[in-house]
Amino acid sequence: MRRIISVLLENEPGALSRVVGLFSQRNYNIETLTVAPTEDETLSRLTVTTTGSDKVIEQITKQLNKLIEVVKLVDLTEGSHIERELMLVKLKATGSQRAEIKRTVDIFRGQIVDVTSSVYTIQLAGDSEKLDGFIQAVGTAGVLEVVRSGVSGIARGEKILSI
């Protein structure tokens, strides 16, 4: 099953490489990984999406917790949560394609953020499925370049991940 694990990490050199090293060392899989500082400058927040049986996920969270620099973590998929990913796409856009693409972008609530005579650059945010859905809708033939940020997530409601 796919999981989103969110981690508060000491904002120190080498901490990230320990997390990444753990995944490769123990043969766990990483689908996406994002990391950035938080409002508390001593902490980074890292989000990793991974897949595995319940047993593997349990080991992943335990092994992560064992890393000295991991302060706290939560498996967001255990409760209701919001998940977002940002995507920038360059699409070939000429002639009648331009109107068609514009319509699809609107349906997906995206924005055209840059335009040339033959190319649209589109920004889209949402969960990973929505982003996949957009690429499917416009068809891979016209796609020139895709860049995705990887997943970030946060729990719904009152629950917070903090120290």
């Binding site: 050199p13 060392q25 000295i68 991991v70 706290k72 120290i163």
Partner: protein
């Protein structure tokens, strides 16, 4: 406040940490530190002949005393030479701090002379590693390193020290922190009361209980509690290779150790049990055999300080995270006050069954009228040392024979590389033990393959007068490899012979020690006695043993715990 250079602060920190010995080897990046070491006499430095040996010495010291060992090496090759030793300690959760010189911080990343990314190289085999970024941090970094190494599930910690952190004429205020606090590291101090209660209820209701103890009992200094609980309940107990000595081997409730080369009765009792109380062990593959066939009727209570050890390979029914001594203490109290008592009838039927298993095999081997059997060498050593020796072992058949036939009644006396299985561990580990227990009998049981992996340390033994007794069970082969080739590769002995062995007697003498060769069975006891009588001499005993011997019992690959070879021809 005192003003000290980084190098002096480092050494002062070690003094304030109460460190008696450092094992190490100097080089460019560590020279400021070595100079600071020279100008004091509280911390004693032992100069090894290879950095790997320094780590194994620190490891042997830690296993025998329970205190963290300390290593000091230079950058680059000095640091990388420690990796096998660090990995050995990591696999067996041995506390130690490895201080590594590093090129100056201004040179890092430039492929400077003797620059290696030791933080990166060591990362997968350490509990943690730390870099010094400012000289003022040194006392705190050192305190943190020992704190992390020795608490929770212990393990090795590497400290990387760029040369400019130890510059002699730059001085800083020194004070050694009494305590460190790490918001992200809080090992459990006690187990969950509800879980402990549940475990005790299950223990008392069991019909065919088994206690399975591991190295965690020794690391957690919980032998007394384990013995008390086991005796109180009257239940059978086994332990892992790493747990040897945590419960007296000569006690009647003890079934010997378990797993790949464990006793028949331990493996049978595990397989047929209905409740397993696992204390500080980790269900590793050398114990469980095929996990899907593991102990089909058993419910499992698992106590461990490391939550990640629980339900990693075998799912626990009742997980208890906590220090084993504290948890066992609580269990003892609950058993005492409980109205329930162990089921006497079920227990006596269970013991009857176990005694039948014990009688059926009971660690037998065939003796011969002429060839010396490796097992009888170990039995003789056990008798002649009254079972009181510290035995450091290398890796191979000799290791298994030593573990099987030397009956350890006390913890911290069996010193071996169980998790990594590092050939070359034995001699330096024995040296680390002897240094700290000069009056104790310290044996190094080894093979002619393993001993040659760190034989240069005979020179260190001479320098520091470390009269260990080296017992080389010379079967003229990489015996354990050869055994597997006999069993799985139709005896094609690919590269498992050691041709052109050195004359170990002359070699020992060349290093200034005594060598004794034993080739005849009738010479065995008298010559062992002769060697043991030379209290202040290192004696290298080169004992020619039966070249064809295999280690049994041996679990059948991919079978359950009860599937074993008992000799070359009997399989159950």
């Amino acid at each position: 406040m005192e003003l000290l250079s980084g190098a002096d602060m480092l050494i002062r920190s070690l003094q304030d940490e109460g460190i008696e010995y450092i094992y190490g080897y100097p080089g460019g990046a560590a020279l400021h530190i070595y100079d600071a070491l020279f100008r004091q006499d509280k911390v004693k430095h032992i100069l090894v002949r290879h950095e790997q040996a320094a780590v194994h010495m620190a490891d042997g010291y830690a296993r025998a005393t329970g205190k963290p060992g300390t290593v000091l090496v230079t950058s680059g090759p000095g640091a990388t030479n420690t990796i096998t030793g660090i990995a050995t300690a990591f696999m067996d959760s041995i506390p130690m701090v490895v201080l590594c010189g590093q090129v100056a911080s201004t040179l890092i990343g430039e492929d400077a002379f003797q620059e290696t990314d030791m933080i990166g190289v060591s990362r997968p085999v350490v509990k943690h590693n730390l870099s010094v970024r400012h000289p003022e941090e040194i006392p705190e970094v050192i305190r943190k390193a020992y704190y992390i190494a020795a608490t929770g599930r212990p393990g090795p910690v590497v400290v990387d020290i760029p040369k400019d952190m130890t510059t002699p004429n730059e001085r800083y205020e020194y004070s050694y922190p009494k305590k460190v606090k790490l918001r992200s590291y809080n090992p459990a101090v006690r187990g969950h009361a509800g879980q402990i209660k549940k475990a005790v209820d299950m223990l008392l209701a069991a019909k065919r209980p088994m206690i399975y103890a591991g190295g965690g009992v020794i690391l957690g200094q919980a032998s007394d509690q384990l013995i008390e609980l086991t005796r109180m309940l009257g239940y059978p107990i086994t332990n892992t290779l790493m747990g040897i000595g945590c419960y007296p081997a000569t006690d009647k409730q003890h079934l010997g150790w378990l797993g790949m080369h464990g006793t028949y009765e331990s493996n049978m009792a595990m397989h047929h049990s209905d409740l397993i109380l696992c204390v500080g062990a980790r269900f590793d593959d050398r114990v469980t055999n095929a996990t899907e066939k593991f102990c089909p009727g058993a419910r499992i209570v698992h106590i461990d300080i490391d939550p990640a050890s629980i339900s990693k390979t075998i799912e626990a029914d009742v997980p208890i995270v906590g220090p084993v001594d504290a948890v066992l203490k609580e269990m003892i109290a609950l058993v005492k006050e409980s109205k329930e008592k162990p089921d006497a009838e079920a227990l006596s039927a269970w013991w009857k069954q176990i005694e039948e298993w014990r009688a059926f095999h009971g660690m037998r081997y065939e003796t011969s009228s002429d060839a010396i059997k490796p097992q009888e060498v170990i039995e003789a050593l056990w008798r002649l040392t009254n079972g009181e020796a510290y035995v450091a072992s290398d890796v191979g058949q000799h290791q298994m024979f030593a573990a099987q036939y030397y009956k350890f009644d006390k913890p911290n006396r069996w010193i071996n590389s169980g998790g990594l299985g590092t050939m070359g561990f034995g001699l330096p580990a024995a040296m680390g033990v002897k240094l700290t227990h000069p009056d104790a009998e310290v044996l190094c049981v080894t093979g002619e393959g393993s001993i040659q992996m760190n034989i240069q340390e005979l020179s260190t033994c001479k320098q520091y007068d470390l009269p260990v007794k080296i017992v080389n069970l010379n079967n003229q082969a990489l015996g354990m490899v050869k055994q597997w080739q006999d069993m799985n590769y139709e005896s094609r002995h690919s590269q498992s012979y050691m041709e052109s062995l050195p004359d170990f007697i002359k070699l020992a003498e060349a290093y200034g020690h005594v060598g004794i060769r034993i080739e005849k069975r009738e010479d065995l006891e008298p010559k062992l006695k002769e060697a043991l009588a030379m209290k202040d001499k290192l004696v290298f005993l080169d004992i020619y043993v039966d070249r064809f011997e295999h280690v049994y019992p041996m679990q059948v690959a991919r079978g359950s715990m009860k599937d074993m070879w008992l000799s070359k021809t009997e399989r159950v």
